[in-house]
Each structure stands twice: as structure tokens, then as C-alpha cells.
């Protein structure tokens, strides 16, 4: 197991943020962590990266004890925040050089690793330009490149595609997939974009009310939660097709009989969102 968490608890001012949370993440997987705002995703990722202390519970990362072996754990982990966590007035190379040095790399080893990170995230054209001049997509790639400097075994990606165009998003998702497949890096991926999670993750967990309410392999989850969305002029219908298509055919027949015009039919694209909303009750979270 890459990560094994047992009965993790965290409170702020007597208010529970994580309540007896237990979770296991397999080595080499891309693990999607979903949850509404305030569910505790960022708190969980922050605890796993030693940014905030936990109250109780046990954590093991690649078999290492979270407290005793924190130096080893930090050296094999990489945290890629949601923000552009680098210096905009430095070039990509200068940023990589600085963070690489913090990871203890020097001289030829540092240069070699920087070159690898630049190639892995396709930053060649931007190496010597200041980061402040980059587009959102290139900034995201530099954020990821910095996270690869220490040759991590596990990467925590906190909403890495926020605020970028669909082309850049697809490009970044493919980079993440490549990194995972080529180096067998475990990736913990938090996002609000269901289609991203569906696209890249092997396993998904939904965090709500301070604990994990569902953890399942993506393929299995998709098979179990198939819906067809029918969009009419004045309403939307959602048909459960987990147990076959009879109900769908019946509804389509009724719509034809009643002369109802179908605007659009969506076969399966909203499955995860459906599941997410039904599990988290669809209430607005502030």
C-alpha cells in the first residue's frame, strides 16, 4: 500500500474536520479524492504533507511510520498545491534550480533532473522566460515540473487544472497519466471536475461529512452507476440503466406518444456527477 490511514481525526476549535477517517491507496494508482467544499479534502492533503498536525490516528506511507520516518516520507512525497507555488519573477529554470536545491540536488544531478522535469512537462520553449509571462496552462505545467524534482514515489495534486482552458487541461491530464505509467508514481488527485476524475483515476473516494463515504475502483463504480440523461424543453429526466435499458425504452416510448420534443440525450457522461450528488445529497455547501 502507498498510503494507509486509520481513524484519522482533526478538529479546529472543537469543530471536527476529519472524523475517524480511514483510507487505503494502492501503490502506482491514480487516486481521485472527491468531496464538496469544506468536506476536509485540503485538510487531509495538508496533514499528509506535514503542513498541519493531526489530532489522532495512524498513517503509514509506503510502510513508513508517519511520525518516526517523516524525513524519508518527505523525501519520497511531493505536494503540488492548487496555487502557482513558485516565483513568478524567476524563469522556469531558476525556479526548478531553487526547488531542486531544496530537495538536496546539486551540480550535474540537479541539471540532469531539471532537464528531465522540463521534458516531462513539455516546458522546453519556456525554460528561460519569466514565469509571470506564462499562460495558465504553462504555469500549471511548471507547478507539476517542480513536483517531479525529487523523483517522488507519491504526488499529491490539489486541483491542478483550476482556471485553465480545455486544451491545456487535457494536455496536463495526459502528462499526469504519463508520469504515473512511466515511473509508477502514486498520484492522489483532488478535483471538482468529475470528468477529469473519470478520465484519469483508477480508484475514487468521496469525502463528505468529515469522513470517506465511498471508496471504489472507477470501472466498477461506472458500471454500477449508469444513468442516461434526457433533456426536454422544460425538464430533465434521469434514467437508471444499471439493471438494463427497459425503463429507458419505456420512457422514450411515452415521450413519443405524448409528442414531447427531446432536446438532447446524454449516455453515461454524467455518471460520476450523478453519484456524487446523490451521495452528498446535492446540498449547497458554503
Amino acid at each position: 500500500m502507498a498510503i494507509k490511514i486509520n481513524n484519522l481525526n482533526k478538529s479546529y476549535n472543537n469543530s471536527k474536520v476529519l472524523d475517524n477517517l480511514s483510507l487505503e491507496i494502492k501503490e502506482g494508482s491514480i487516486f481521485g479524492l472527491l468531496g464538496p467544499n469544506g468536506a476536509g479534502k485540503t485538510t487531509l492533503v495538508s496533514i499528509l504533507n506535514y503542513l498541519i498536525p493531526k489530532n489522532s490516528g495512524t498513517i503509514k506511507i509506503y510502510g513508513y511510520d508517519f511520525e518516526k520516518d517523516y524525513k524519508t516520507i518527505k523525501s519520497i512525497s511531493s505536494y503540488i498545491p492548487q496555487t502557482y507555488a513558485f516565483y513568478p519573477n524567476l524563469t522556469a529554470y531558476e525556479n526548478l534550480e531553487f526547488f531542486g536545491a531544496l530537495y538536496g540536488l546539486k551540480n550535474a544531478a540537479l541539471k540532469k533532473r531539471i532537464q528531465y522535469c522540463i521534458t516531462a512537462t513539455a516546458l522546453e520553449k519556456f525554460t528561460h522566460k519569466r514565469a509571470a509571462t506564462y499562460s495558465g496552462g504553462v504555469k500549471r505545467r511548471l507547478n507539476i515540473a517542480i513536483g517531479l524534482l525529487n523523483s517522488p514515489k507519491i504526488i499529491y495534486l490539489d486541483e491542478p487544472t483550476v482556471g485553465i482552458d480545455p486544451q491545456s487541461r487535457k494536455y496536463i491530464l495526459n502528462i499526469i497519466k504519463e508520469i504515473n505509467q512511466r515511473d509508477n508514481i502514486t498520484i492522489v488527485y483532488t478535483s471538482h471536475y468529475m470528468e477529469e476524475i473519470e478520465y484519469i483515476c483508477d480508484e475514487i473516494a468521496i469525502l463528505d461529512n468529515h469522513t470517506i463515504i465511498l471508496q471504489e475502483k472507477k470501472d466498477l463504480l461506472m458500471k454500477q452507476n449508469s444513468f442516461v440523461e434526457i433533456k426536454l424543453a422544460d425538464e430533465n429526466l434521469s434514467i437508471d440503466v444499471n439493471n438494463g435499458y427497459e425503463e429507458l425504452l419505456e420512457v422514450l416510448g411515452q415521450l413519443k406518444t405524448n409528442n414531447r420534443r427531446i432536446v438532447d440525450i446524454d449516455f453515461g457522461n454524467k455518471n460520476l456527477e450523478h453519484l456524487f450528488l446523490s451521495l452528498t445529497k446535492g446540498n449547497l455547501r458554503d
Binding site: 495538508s46 498541519i52 512525497s77 496555487t83 513558485f86 531553487f98 536545491a101 531544496l102
Partner: protein
């Protein structure tokens, strides 16, 4: 690793044009302006003499008085003959139109009246309301001195008293400075005061780039990223302190060079450095630690760069006003001079003045160094406590 931490910080500062302006251009401009503007305050003469219009009917006594006033290094006098029009009508024109600083109206037979003990005469001095009171007092004593001289001279001639020595009495009064250090005889000039004053001020402005970098690091998540890396707190802290310490020392060298070479080019006095360079370094190091620690404290109490710039900028200006940077301490009333003792800028300035103006030794500046280091440690401790508190939250 440390090399790259320093490199990063230097690159960030060198690319921050606003920080460079505040750290290097602002003090240069202040030193130039204040050295030239205050030149006369420290000098025994002034470049532009004050103009006097002596209004009277011409006779030899008036001519004599006019001649004596012109001998002064501070005044340039000319006689204007009184006509039949009212003097009051002409006053505004003479002061605001013809730019006379003082107008003296005096009756031509003043000497005769004094000799006869008559009291029905006046010497009236007019000026703009904003004229310096010291200048008025100086003019008044000059008039009294010269009229007295005329009267006494007449008396001595009449009574055949040889008083040639009395005529040279003025030149017999000599001024000498008592120097603390006999090897160090520098006359205090405006540039000797301005360079250390604005240097200390600009060193404390290091808080602008420090707090901006620090707050941006927090806001952008760079701090979180660094904390998730297996790197100890000490090199990160030193990586913040050392580059700014070096920048402060570069400020010291550059501002001294401005005082030595640039101010004289514009007509000011040259900064004379006779003090011990090592003592200057000790003093500037203590000021630098105080300024950097204060900046880290401000960076920790501010949420945004705007907040840090406002809080830091205003606190620096208040510390400068209280510390004798903007107004020299010796022109302040006693209670204000007492208050300056509580400004770290005053400790820095007094220490530098002790070396640059009075040729002081380590014993003379050690108290200021201790105060500055105590201030630095307190600021650093507060910054650290605030940082830990925020993290726990």
C-alpha cells in the same frame, strides 16, 4: 543548497524595480536634496544673502550703517531714499514685488537723538510673516552693534581716547571646536548629517521587498511547498536574512559614495570619512539586523502586500520623524529629544553620527548596538511566535 537560496533571493530583488527605487534611488535623492537644502543651517555663511532695503534720507550715518550691514555674511543692504509718499504703500511692493527680505525704516538723525538722550525715534523692521526669527534677531543685533559702535567711536574721538583695539574686538572673538578625538577634526556639515540620516531611513525600507516576498510566498503557496520539503528552518531563515543584509551593506557603501562624490558636484560639501571603517560596519550591521527583523515582524502581521506596504511605510515614517531623521535632533525641543531615544532609527543615526561626526570609538557606540540588537531579537521573536500561532490555526 544555500548558494541557490541566496541566488533566488538576489534575482527576486534585482527584478523588483519598485524595491530598487525605494532602496537606492529614494535615499540618494533625499541625501542630495537635504544636504543642499540644509547647507546654510550648518554653515557660517549662506549662499544667498538676505536682501535689506534701508529706507531713510541719505546722510553719512545712514551710509555708514548700510556699509556695515553689507559687511555681514548674511545680509546685502541697499539704501532707498524716502520720498513724500507713504512708506506703508510701498512695503508690499518692496517685499513681494522687489523681493526684499527685510525693510528697515530709520530716521537719518538717529545718532543725534541718541547722543541727546531723546527717545522719540524708532527703527522699524518689516518682513514677510514667514521669515525665520533667528534672522530677525541677527539683523536686530547687527543694527544695535553698529549704532553703538558709531556712538562710541564719536565719543572716543571727542575725548581723544585711543581705542583701536576696540575696533578690532570683533576679530578678536574666535571660535574653536573641542573634538572628542584629536585625530578627528571634522566640521559638522549638512552632508555629515544627511548621509547617515537618510541611510538609516532607507535601510529600514528593506521591509518593502522583504514583506512583499514573504507575503507572496505565503499567498502563492510557495511556503507550503517549501515546508512539505525535507529542509530545515535555519537555511531558509538565513536565506532571507543574508541577502537583505548584503543589500543593506551595499546601500551603506553607495550612500557614502553619494555623499563623498555626488553632493559636491551639485555644490554641497563633501562627506568626510575619518571614522573607523570597522565601526561603521559594526553599526550598519546592527541597523541591518534591526531593519530585517522588523520587516519580518511586519510581514507576519500583514495579510496582503498592500497591508504590509502601508503598515511598514507608515511605521518607518513615524520612526524616522521621532528618530531625528527628518528633523535633526538638535533643533527639537527637549521633550521631543527625549522621545527620540525610543526610536531604533535614532539609535542607528546617533551611532553613525558618533563615528562620522564626532570620531567616536566602540565604547561610544556600544549602547546603540546593544539597543538595536535587542530590538532585532524582540522583533524576530514576535515574528516567530506569530508564525507558529498562524500555523496552529
Amino acid at each position: 543548497m544555500f548558494k541557490y537560496i541566496l541566488k533566488k533571493e538576489f534575482l527576486l530583488i534585482s527584478r523588483d524595480i519598485h524595491a530598487l527605487l525605494v532602496l537606492f534611488i529614494m535615499p540618494t535623492v533625499f541625501i542630495l536634496i537635504m544636504s543642499l537644502a540644509l547647507k546654510n543651517t550648518y554653515s557660517s555663511s549662506i549662499d544667498v544673502k538676505l536682501n535689506i532695503a534701508l529706507i531713510s534720507e541719505e546722510n553719512k550715518d545712514i551710509t555708514y550703517l548700510n556699509k556695515q550691514l553689507n559687511k555681514s555674511s548674511f545680509f546685502e543692504s541697499s539704501v532707498i531714499h524716502k520720498d513724500n509718499n507713504s512708506v506703508d504703500t510701498d512695503l508690499k511692493e518692496l517685499i513681494y514685488g522687489k523681493k526684499f527680505d527685510f525693510i528697515i525704516t530709520i530716521s537719518k538723525d538717529y545718532k543725534r537723538k541718541i547722543n541727546k538722550n531723546k527717545k522719540d525715534f524708532n527703527i522699524q523692521i518689516y518682513s514677510k510673516p514667514d521669515i525665520q526669527h533667528q534672522n530677525y534677531l541677527m539683523l536686530k543685533s547687527l543694527i544695535v552693534e553698529n549704532i553703538s559702535k558709531q556712538i562710541m567711536s564719536d565719543y572716543f574721538i571727542k575725548n581723544k581716547i585711543n581705542a583701536k583695539t576696540l575696533a578690532t574686538l570683533n576679530s578678536k572673538i574666535k571660535k574653536s571646536y573641542v573634538y572628542k578625538n584629536e585625530k578627528f577634526k571634522i566640521k559638522p556639515t549638512s552632508v555629515q548629517q544627511s548621509v547617515p540620516a537618510w541611510l538609516v531611513f532607507s535601510m529600514f525600507f528593506i521591509l518593502i521587498p522583504i514583506s512583499n516576498t514573504f507575503i507572496n510566498e505565503k499567498a502563492l503557496g510557495t511556503v507550503s511547498r517549501i515546508r512539505s520539503i525535507n529542509v530545515s528552518f535555519i537555511p531558509i531563515l538565513l536565506g532571507k536574512i543574508i541577502p537583505y543584509f548584503i543589500i543593506n551593506q551595499i546601500q551603506v557603501i553607495l550612500m557614502i559614495l553619494v555623499g563623498v562624490f555626488v553632493v559636491p558636484l551639485l555644490g554641497g560639501d563633501s562627506l568626510i570619512i575619518n571614522g573607523n571603517y570597522f565601526l561603521i560596519f559594526c553599526m550598519s550591521s546592527a541597523i541591518s539586523f534591526a531593519a530585517i527583523s522588523f520587516a519580518l515582524f511586519i510581514a507576519n502581521i500583514s495579510k496582503t502586500t498592500e497591508e504590509a506596504t502601508s503598515i511598514g511605510g507608515v511605521s518607518n515614517i513615524i520612526l524616522a520623524a521621532l528618530g531625528g531623521i527628518m528633523v535633526p535632533k538638535f533643533v527639537m525641543p527637549e521633550f521631543m529629544q527625549d522621545i527620540t531615544q525610543y526610536s531604533p532609527m535614532s539609535w542607528g543615526l546617533e551611532g553613525l553620527l558618533e563615528i562620522l561626526v564626532r570620531g567616536g570609538q566602540f565604547n561610544d557606540i556600544k549602547t546603540y548596538i546593544v539597543y538595536l540588537l535587542l530590538f532585532a531579537f524582540c522583533s524576530l521573536a514576535l515574528a516567530y511566535i506569530l508564525l507558529i500561532k498562524k500555523e496552529k490555526r
